[in-house]
């Protein structure tokens, strides 16, 4: 049965290519658009995701990282560092700032970090990642868009800085992140050495909720929040409105994509209804007929799905190279969901037209043909 199905399917290579192509295009569309939406959400939390932090300590009332204007007491760093169960404390200054790059204003997230403690860029595309006095590590995506090179100068809050490196993976759909020395940032934002946040790492096995509660009990006027909660709050803050339209675009792509899968398989099945009629005429049982049709639709869908997934992964790697602001994240669970939807649609689309052939008498099948 399997042999009949495959032979019949592969006999006309052009038609097989068309059916698989239709499925592949739909899969590509759905995975890429879904991956871009996922990428937006991941980019928003990129800094905290890569920071050495189980708990983020901020000024009282602040439970997010990106939306908070936070300043905490100078001595809080030492207080937290002395607590049991705390393995590392990293003070950082974080503030939005307009950076003037080659005469154009660029809205950026400015992060001041101490090179001996951490909290700086996690991936360097070019140059160095540890800026000294009057130096800055620029976001690679902003750098590429604004044709910035190592050695160029940019103006941040009225002071000129030399670009000494480019960090990658530090841009979101809205801003890029620029890194500078902690003392330099403190002077720039007039914080007198006080950090905006403390990134706190607990000992292994320590629950971040419990650690956050203990820190809040120890410090005054601060909020200590587990990393996952901070990330969720930042996502809500930045992607809440954007997720409406792009979520809708992704949904439309999914609905139309799966419909195209169905239509493609339906067309391919209708095209072979003459062959199914002949099989019926020579006395094949309906169960065998359905098995052949099922086999063919699964085979064409598998081929299309494989090509589509391969193309989507290739595009997901290519897009950030061509347009560094974008990140495409294709998750295995998304591929699995899509696979299930595509197979369900394909089987349904194949069974519907063949029911007409199955319901007719073998003798009449001769007369009807297609």
């Amino acid at each position: 049965m399997v042999q009949i199905a495959r032979k019949s399917l592969l006999r006309d290579k052009a038609r097989f290519a068309v059916s698989s192509g239709g499925v592949a295009l739909s899969v590509l569309l759905i995975l890429l658009l879904g991956g871009m939406q996922r990428g937006v959400n991941e980019q928003i939390t990129a800094y905290i995701d890569h920071a050495p932090a189980d708990v983020i300590v901020a000024q009282e009332g602040n439970h997010d990282f990106l939306g908070a204007r936070s300043r905490i007491a100078l001595e809080d760093e030492a207080r937290v560092a002395r607590m049991s169960g705390v393995s590392r404390v990293v003070p950082v200054i974080s503030q939005y700032a307009v950076v003037e790059v080659h005469g154009r204003k660029e809205f950026t997230l400015l992060v001041g970090f101490d090179r001996t403690k951490g909290g700086g860029p996690w991936r360097i595309a070019e140059g160095k990642g540890t800026p000294a006095e009057n130096e800055v590590v620029a976001d690679a995506a902003v750098g590429k868009a604004r044709r910035l090179s190592i050695g160029d100068t940019v103006e941040i809050l009225g002071k000129r800085f030399k670009v000494v490196g480019f960090s990658s993976g530090t841009s979101s759909w809205m801003t890029g992140t620029f890194f500078m020395d902690f003392e330099e940032a403190s002077e720039l934002v007039a914080s007198r050495g006080a950090p905006s946040f403390l990134l706190v790492q607990g000992d292994r096995g320590q629950s971040s909720e419990a650690l956050a509660r203990r820190i809040e009990l120890r410090l005054r006027d601060t909020a200590a929040t587990p990393r996952e909660v901070v990330n969720a709050n930042d996502r809500k803050l930045y992607a809440r409105i954007l997720n409406g339209p792009i979520g809708f675009m992704t949904l439309i792509a999914f609905l139309i994509g799966t419909s195209v899968v169905g239509l493609t398989i339906y067309t391919a099945t209708v095209e072979r209804s003459k062959e199914y009629g002949s099989l019926k005429a020579i006395g094949i049982r309906n169960t065998a007929l359905y098995a052949i049709v099922f086999e063919q639709s699964v085979f064409a869908t598998t081929a299309g799905l494989s090509i589509g997934i391969a193309l989507a992964y290739a595009a997901a790697r290519l897009i950030p190279v061509l347009a560094p602001r974008f990140m495409v994240v294709i998750e295995p669970s998304a591929v699995l969901r899509l696979g299930i939807a595509a197979f369900a649609m394909a089987v349904l689309a194949a069974i519907v037209p063949v029911r007409a052939v199955a319901s007719i008498d073998p003798a009449i099948a001769f007369r009807r043909g297609a």
Binding site: L25, V98, M174, L237, I241, P245, F248, I256, L263
Partner: protein
């Protein structure tokens, strides 16, 4: 002749007709909807410029938009501008980008400080129209609804502790919403005095906007003067650079895949009819006639598909608007033109590729093959 034959051939098998048209409908619908969402989002970005009444806007020199900028210039300059011939009134507006906090939740907002009763305030209301008092703020109704906020709730914005006094409509975009407060309260909260961010200039009826703009540039140093359209264009460009780029990229992918689906659909339809075209060739039809028939057939299925997609897209646009308009979608003529040209181009190519095989054969050979 070619069209009549093509349409007879196409309409002869209803199932095939529906399948070929449905493929085009799906592909064109994908392009129209993605285009529509992008157009809707882009349109929202300039909602302040599109709805607040003014003819010219004056800002700090070099500032040409609202998004992520700061603009301050001396209020005395605005008073000088108000005395220029042709200027009916010049209204001050203070502006900053801030996070507003309502019921413990934050949202990014443009905060506008305006003189209650003067231009610069909300243009549409959800509920009662109000003027903000010294400790009041007007926020977008959608933000209030999302956060479960009610009139009278405390709101923190721009460094001030305020009270929710009114709900504006239509100020949200893909980036943020707009909140409005009293200009004096804005000044106190931000520690400002004697400065304005923007001057909204309304001209006398019949006054020449270009002449007034030229005079302001000549006589008032340190400011930039823009027409409403220039201000909106600049805002659109800046936001497009930063944010709608993502949607443009998604849209572009949708466009390419949509066109490819059109091509596949038309190619399949032509393949299905290949034997019939072979017979035409065998009975002596010229290649030119064959091409005419094939092109007419793909033109018919593409036209039907486009019309179907346009109808569904317009229905969807209406439905989205009716059910609250959280997803902005506007089907534009530019998008319809784009999808028509694209579909016609790839459709012609996809239908002519298989037919080229037959066109190369001599009539007698067709029978043999």
């Amino acid at each position: 002749m070619g069209v009549a034959l093509a349409s007879r051939n196409l309409f002869e098998n209803r199932t095939r007709l529906v399948v070929s048209v449905a493929g085009v409908v799906l592909a064109a619908l994908l392009i129209l909807v993605l285009d529509g969402v992008l157009a809707g989002a882009t349109r929202q970005v300039t909602t302040f410029m599109d709805n607040v009444p003014f003819d010219l806007v004056v800002s700090q020199r070099g500032v040409r938009n609202l998004h992520m900028t700061t603009s301050f210039f001396a209020e005395s300059k605005l008073r000088e501008i108000a005395r220029i011939d042709g200027v009916r009134h010049a209204d001050p507006v203070l502006y900053t980008t801030t996070f507003l906090t309502l019921r413990g939740q934050r949202s990014l907002a443009y905060l506008i400080g305006y003189e209650p009763g003067r231009p610069g305030g909300p243009w549409a209301w959800a509920g009662r129209q109000v003027l903000p008092t010294r400790d009041g703020i007007i926020v977008d109704a959608r933000i209030a609804e999302d956060f479960g906020g009610r009139i009278g709730d405390p709101v923190t914005a721009g460094g001030a502790d305020l009270r929710l006094e009114g709900l504006a409509k239509g100020t949200t975009s893909i980036l943020n919403s707009i909140a409005f407060m009293d200009r004096d309260a804005f000044e106190s909260a931000q520690g400002l005095q004697g400065v304005v961010s923007f001057g909204l200039i309304t001209l006398d009826p019949g006054a020449d906007a270009d002449r007034v703009a030229r005079q302001i540039r000549r006589e008032i140093p340190g400011v930039t003067v823009l027409t409403r359209e220039e201000f909106a264009d600049s805002e659109r460009r800046v936001v497009s650079d930063m944010s709608t780029e993502l949607m443009q990229m998604m849209n572009f992918i949708g466009f390419l895949v949509g066109l490819a689906v059109v091509a596949l659909t038309v190619y399949t339809t032509t393949l299905q009819k290949l034997s019939e075209y072979g017979i035409l060739k065998a009975i002596g039809a010229s290649n030119a006639r064959l091409v005419r028939v094939v092109c007419a057939q793909s033109a018919i299925s593409i036209t039907l598909g486009l019309l179907g997609a346009l109808g569904i897209a317009l229905l969807l646009q209406g439905a989205l608007g009716y059910f609250g308009g959280r997803v902005p979608m506007v089907v534009t003529w530019a998008s319809v033109l784009k999808v028509t040209i694209g579909a016609a181009a790839v459709g012609s190519l996809a239908s002519l590729l298989p037919i080229a095989r037959i066109a190369r054969l001599k009539p007698a050979e067709v029978f043999r093959r």
